[in-house]
Subunit: 322 residues, 2 copies
């Protein structure tokens, strides 16, 4: 019984008689044999590990990140890969390190900015990568994200259909806009485009993720634009505070004020009243990212941008304009 035979049984890369295969598998089982990962990686030039670069920056909503990360790990395991966790604060050098040392076979990069310094590097690296988020120039890249432009449009359309003609977008913390994060910019663009198309007034404002900030931002907003009857909210952690603030201000949802959220479904459903929302499908995006990466690994799949379609669910937080 040659070592190579065992290798072929385990990898299935050559035909093996069923007798031999059974014998090998039995021995593997009995001895509890596990191939050494480093030796395997050295010989095959594949580590079966992918890197996941997670942002740790101001304004990012942690539970959503974790949802992405979980989806990535779970899907990677389905394809017999493991996940190496990198934090974005290592920046370019972290990516260079893990790819040039062949620690990983491929990269998943989250929280991509419009003009991300890592993008040129990703183009050069001799290793497939998938971005979660869309930079300004996607030439030669593989990117996946929710279609935030369409998401915002759908929110506006839904409110416009209900007869609202002055609505607001309560956005992400200003830090997120300042670093030109793609998803935030695309949401604003979609919001403005749809408002214009529908001939209604659309006011957008950033909002920090604290109760006081919501209190102040919403207070200012309603003072300056008393005609607002609909709000689109993109910043998940302020959903609770916003509902609270509206209650304090005596505005009932949805009677006086309609609310649309762009957030995970379970978050929307957990509120009182349940929120009409466009789903942020973090699970599917993470899963899709890994599946694409695996495809690129063993078939030189070309680059391309995948926008997950936005899907709106009307619930109890929106109604016809007062």
């Amino acid at each position: 019984m040659a070592a190579s035979t065992v290798s072929y049984v385990l990898s299935g890369k050559r035909s093996i008689s069923s007798a031999t295969r059974d014998r090998v598998q039995e021995a593997v089982r009995v001895l509890g044999y596990r191939p050494n990962a480093s030796a395997r990686a050295l010989a095959s030039n594949r580590s079966n590990v992918i890197a996941l670069v997670i942002p740790l920056r101001a304004g990012m909503h942690v539970p959503v990140l974790m949802q992405f990360a979980t989806a990535v790990v779970t899907t990677a395991r389905r394809f017999d890969h493991d996940v190496l966790l990198l934090t974005a604060d290592e920046g370019r050098s972290g990516l260079e390190r893990v790819s040039q040392s062949a620690l990983v076979d491929a990269l998943v990069v989250m929280d991509v900015e419009l003009h991300d310094e890592r993008v040129p590097l990703l183009r050069e690296l001799p290793m497939p990568s998938v971005l979660i988020g869309i930079p300004a120039d996607t030439e030669g890249l593989t990117c996946i994200d929710l279609d935030f432009f369409a998401a915002a449009e759908q929110c506006v359309d839904h409110l416009a259909d209900l007869g609202h003609h002055e609505i607001a977008l309560l956005g992400t913390p200003s830090a997120v806009y300042e670093r030109q994060t793609g998803f935030a910019a695309r949401t604003v663009a979609g919001f403005q485009a749809a408002a214009e198309r529908r001939g209604i007034a659309g006011i957008e404002t950033p909002c920090e993720s604290t109760f006081e900030a919501v209190l102040e931002t919403v207070g200012d907003l309603l003072r300056e634009h008393p005609g607002i009857t609909g709000v689109v909210i993109q910043n998940e952690p302020i959903i609770g505070p916003l509902l609270d603030v509206l209650r304090r201000l005596g505005r009932r949802v949805p009677e006086d004020m309609s609310l649309m959220a762009i957030c995970a479904d379970d978050v929307a459903v957990r509120q009182v009243p349940q929120l009409s929302s466009v789903t942020l499908p973090a699970d599917e995006i993470g899963q899709q990212a890994v599946e694409t990466l695996i495809a690129k690994l063993d078939s030189d799949l070309g680059p391309g941008v995948t926008l997950m379609p936005a899907q709106l669910t009307a619930r109890a937080s929106t109604s016809t304009a007062p």
Copy 2:
């Protein structure tokens, strides 16, 4: 110039003349040379990767987990190690896989239950590990956690010192108790012990992490125990809802009701009013875990339990009993 010489320059394991060293370093710089991680691991029997097992279970508060994870990754990088992310749903087999294939050198396991099925396995594995959390039998293990018993005691003492004699512990979701998670059990024990010692009434109840659950739980609590004037809260995500519920019920904080939280400092400070709290030092625990692990890696450090001391900070949410 022998390959071995380069290796010795890079690792510093033998003395090298400064002339040679400079020449090698210059060449490394110019060529952008990076040692191949797999080859290095195969030859040296060290992958320089540690596994981090993260729970994805009901009732766990995600931002805190992320804080642990971040601290672990950052600290690991300080010691020139990387982090492989495992989810707890792979259970024992995940641990066996990564350790037996020598994918990693060591393990950090989070969210340990009192009778965790992974504990016996960890004792057997030929590889150091550190648990974040304390199981029932710590024989032969290295564990680190906040001293939740003392944390609860300090909360009770603080309230008792202020003259309260009927207080409640608003705990974690019941799922966390049911699976006998150590930190929750130790908090309850400390709460009860201190209440008894101080001769005051201590009522403890689990609480799910939704607004309605808080509304109902607190409603029931105050109906059955109308004399309660102080609450200790261990469940971070319900801090906001709790403040809201008390407001609705017309109980002012701290005039009518004193509040103590066991949570991260920044969370306590972000509330209105700012909460008196015992800090949950996730950063330090994560950091300490990795430092201990590194020490075990290259010096056969013995096992042992490290309880991080609890530290109480009085803020605006506690005052003398009404």
